[in-house]
């Protein structure tokens, strides 16, 4: 089969960073091509170049043998390229239907026929198998639902090339299945798909061929994925062998540390209760919209509670103030790094020290040396790829931003309860195991850790106990000894009758 999409010696630099240098590879028609690499390896940059949003310093992109010289997103669209970026790109104030058509509104003379628009979108969505109301505002959807809308956008407009940048990072297995089915369909239509992911399972399941990037250079190109192994890819990506990413080991669990008693809130009607012991890593699993993130925000005091109490070591934590929660020893690493995590316009250093600096700032006066030390320590420990700690966080790759946010909380002192919502969203395999190691270390020191994850292998791999949530309720409480993939999934699915468990 002939090559349909080709990258020819592409180079792209940013101030202080050579994001891509001399990258060349090609993809056959009708192939799903995987793109892998560590955080900051240049995957998203490559995709941005393909989307027409930015242009390469050197090199060219060929589609169907034709060199493309497009200079805007519209040009790329005309050439048949659609890109789903790593960060969600939706307009919260507009409806699902309007977002799907944004930039390509059909209709005569610029006048929009709203009813027709909603009808068409409704039909398309149900045909694809995505269950969202076309007239709902994006702002009212959960992240997962928004991700599905993004995907629908790519599928609805007939494209010759579709690039997906970590589409499953906020999807749970059920939604991922919908996506995979869509990809199968597109492949059979001859569409070229460029697929970026850090999840090896997906890569092996979907892709026909694979390219690995490392430090902006081509590390390996595999025209046939069946000829490579997992370990080989990992080694190409991170430059070393990683035998066992989970690395879980037994720990002594202490007395009860965190107790959550019948809390409920605006989006979580049924009161929830659970507790976590010293040294325990508790996992929360569920489908999109199961209410896990909502639960963490209520516990942390980020949203206003309707009722219920949270106690740490027997002391009640004030209800609706994150600063007070932090002072009581509880921290939350939020799910949505773009809106709740990073502080744009500020450096890595400042983003890390924002909370912990109060411990070493006498009379509110900063200790710049300590802040620098702290930043350097976690940049090294979490392998953040950046030219300097002074770099504006917005210029980091998605995964590296996530690492900085993690660093913010891992550097906090006196933490007794650590809640992490999707800890490794968008983080590469190499750094993942480092992060897990840190979590085990903290747990061993007696910290109570709550991990929310949509990645089943991860929850099963690193936690001591799993609470499965379904439609805002805790549907199952499973100890590590009883971990079983089918049982957990069954509890998470709303349509299957589930065993009701007493909250512990």
């Amino acid at each position: 089969m002939q090559d349909f999409l080709e990258f020819r010696s592409i180079s792209k630099g940013y101030p202080g960073v050579q994001a891509l240098s001399d990258v060349s590879f090609s993809v056959r028609k009708g192939a799903v091509h995987g793109l892998m690499g560590e955080n900051g390896a240049g995957k998203s940059t490559l995709i941005r170049l393909l989307s027409g949003d930015q242009s390469a310093d050197e090199g060219e992109i060929l589609i169907d043998g034709e060199a493309q010289s497009y200079r805007s997103v519209r040009d790329a669209f005309r050439a048949g390229v659609i890109v789903i970026h790593q960060e969600l790109q939706l307009v919260p104030e507009l409806t699902v239907a309007e977002n799907l058509w944004l930039g390509h509104f059909p209709g005569k003379g610029g006048v929009i026929d709203r009813r027709r628009l909603i009808r068409i979108v409704g039909e398309k969505l149900s045909e694809i198998g995505i269950d969202v109301d076309p007239s709902a505002k994006i702002a009212s959807l959960s992240i997962g639902e928004r991700q599905m809308v993004e995907i629908a956008k790519a599928v609805m407009l007939d494209a010759r090339v579709i690039a997906l940048d970590e589409p499953t990072s906020s999807l749970s297995s059920r939604e991922s299945e919908i996506l995979f089915a869509l990809i199968e369909r597109l492949r059979s239509n001859g569409t070229v798909i460029l697929y970026v992911s850090h999840r090896l399972d997906e890569i092996f399941r979907l892709c026909d061929s694979l390219t690995v990037l490392r430090d902006g250079k081509l590390a390996a190109h595999h025209p046939d994925i069946s000829k490579v192994t997992r370990d080989q890819i990992i080694a190409e990506m991170v430059g070393r062998e990683i035998s066992n990413i989970w690395g879980w080991r037994t720990r002594d669990l202490g007395t009860e540390r965190l107790r959550v008693d019948t809390i409920s809130g605006p989006k979580l009607k049924t009161p929830l209760s659970f507790s976590v012991r010293r040294g325990e890593i508790l996992g929360f699993f569920g489908l999109i919209g199961a209410g896990r993130s909502e639960m963490t925000r209520l516990v942390y005091g980020a949203d206003r509670r309707h009722q219920g109490t949270v106690t740490i070591d027997g002391t009640t934590v004030p209800a609706d103030s994150p600063p007070q929660s932090i002072r009581a020893g509880m921290v939350l690493c939020p799910e949505d790094r773009k809106f709740d995590g990073i502080v744009q316009g500020r450096s890595i250093e400042e983003n890390m020290a924002i909370s912990s600096r109060r411990h070493f700032s006498p009379f509110g006066i900063l200790d710049l040396k300590k802040e620098a030390e702290l930043a350097d320590r976690f940049i090294a420990k979490l392998r953040v790829r950046t030219p300097s700690r002074k770099q504006d966080i917005i210029n980091l790759s998605g995964g590296n931003q996530q690492k900085v946010i993690l660093g913010r909380w891992l550097s906090e002192q006196g933490v007794r309860v650590l809640i992490i919502d999707e800890p490794t969203r968008g983080i590469d395999v190499g750094a993942k195991s480092e992060i897990y190691e840190i979590l085990y270390e903290l747990a061993a020191q007696g910290m109570a850790i709550v991990v929310i994850s949509s990645e089943l292998p991860e929850v099963m791999g690193i936690t001591d106990r799993i609470l499965v949530m379904c439609q805002g309720r805790i549907a199952a409480d499973i100890a590590r000894a009883d971990f079983d993939e089918r049982r957990i999934l069954a509890a998470a699915l709303p349509d299957v009758p589930t065993e009701q468990v007493q909250p512990s």
Binding site: V83, Q89, L90, V91, P92, E93, L94, L102, G103, I112
Partner: protein, 316 residues
């Protein structure tokens, strides 16, 4: 009880609150609900109302325009001077539209292409344009030679003066444009998330240029009507208009963070501003106290609207 609450705090809450306030004022303030006063009231908000139409687009796309007052004055001057010189009102009108459109275009190009902050750009053009108006007229008002120019403002249709009709037409047209056209949706999209709009293929910088150019043209219309009403082109006219117009829009629920706007809201905002002024004068409130009252009304109006949306947010 709950249905009343629902009505007050619902989608159209601001309109309902406004209707209630209007009824109270109508019942308690003498001379308020007379035909004459109503027409006077409407005429007094013509400039604000017309300019608010495009300011709504400007704010909805997360921009800002401080130059509207100067542009109104400048294009009014241009209309008077051109029609005096040529003897034709039509030429005056065209001159005004050219001037207004040009100012808007310059704003748009500087903001969209050179990526200069809209606040600073329009603050600069506000001064430059005011300077031009003053230079052109040597700082003095220019009288209108042809009395039929006055007719623009004085003529009536069905008993209602032309400027009010014009304002009404603008409300209808721009309401339609906002909700029912690609232009309107793109405006809201740019304001809601400029990055996403750009990546979706909306030509953001063209849109911004268009919005500013439109704003300039609309200011020109307001300027011509104003000149006709005050029977002269005045270089000092409409100072401070920008803040009144922006207040009216924000009162009407247009978000300064972009992405949110509604024509009904803006109309209500414009009317609130006009009624406050009108009632204070009817009640003979002292000038200094008018400042305080004006400020309090502004606060109260947004506060009520905020309570409303807070309540709406909590409801689920």
């Amino acid at each position: 009880m709950t249905s009343l609450k629902k009505l007050l705090l619902g989608e159209q809450g601001l309109v309902v609150i406004f209707a209630v306030a209007f009824a109270i004022v109508a019942l308690t303030v003498p001379n308020f609900l007379t035909e004459r006063n109503m027409l006077g009231l409407l005429q007094s908000v013509v400039t604000i109302g017309i300019v608010a139409c495009t300011m709504m687009f400007c704010l909805a796309s997360r921009d800002f325009d401080l130059s509207v007052g100067s542009t109104v004055a400048f294009s009014g001057m241009a209309a008077v001077m051109a029609s005096n010189a040529s003897g034709s009102i039509l030429i005056g009108l065209v001159a005004a539209l050219l001037c207004g459109g040009f100012v808007g275009l310059v704003n748009g190009v500087v903001i969209a292409h050179f990526r200069i902050n809209a606040l600073i750009t329009t603050l600069a053009t506000m001064q430059i344009v005011r300077g031009f108006a003053l230079i052109a007229s040597d700082g003095r008002a220019v009288g209108i030679n042809d009395p039929s120019f006055y007719q623009l403002a004085l003529s009536k249709f069905l008993g209602i003066p032309t400027p009010i009709w014009v304002m009404g037409a603008f409300f209808v047209v721009f309401g339609f444009v906002l909700n029912r056209t690609v232009f309107g949706k793109n405006t809201l999209a740019i304001g809601g998330n400029p990055e996403a709009s750009r990546l979706a293929g909306v030509n953001v910088s063209n849109m911004r240029i268009w919005i500013f150019a439109l704003q300039g043209l609309v200011c020109a219309v307001a300027g011509v009507l104003l000149a006709s009403r005050i029977t002269s082109g005045q270089p000092n006219a409409a100072t401070g208009l920008e803040l009144s117009v922006i207040s009216a829009c924000v009162l009407g629920g247009v978000s300064l963070a972009g992405g949110r706007a509604a024509m009904t809201g803006v109309i209500v905002g414009v009317l609130i501003m006009g009624i406050a002024e009108n009632v204070m004068n009817l009640l003979n409130i002292q000038a200094f106290y008018q400042y305080v009252v004006r400020g309090l009304i502004l606060l109260l109006a947004v506060l009520l609207d905020n309570l409303r949306s807070a309540a709406a947010g909590r409801r689920s």
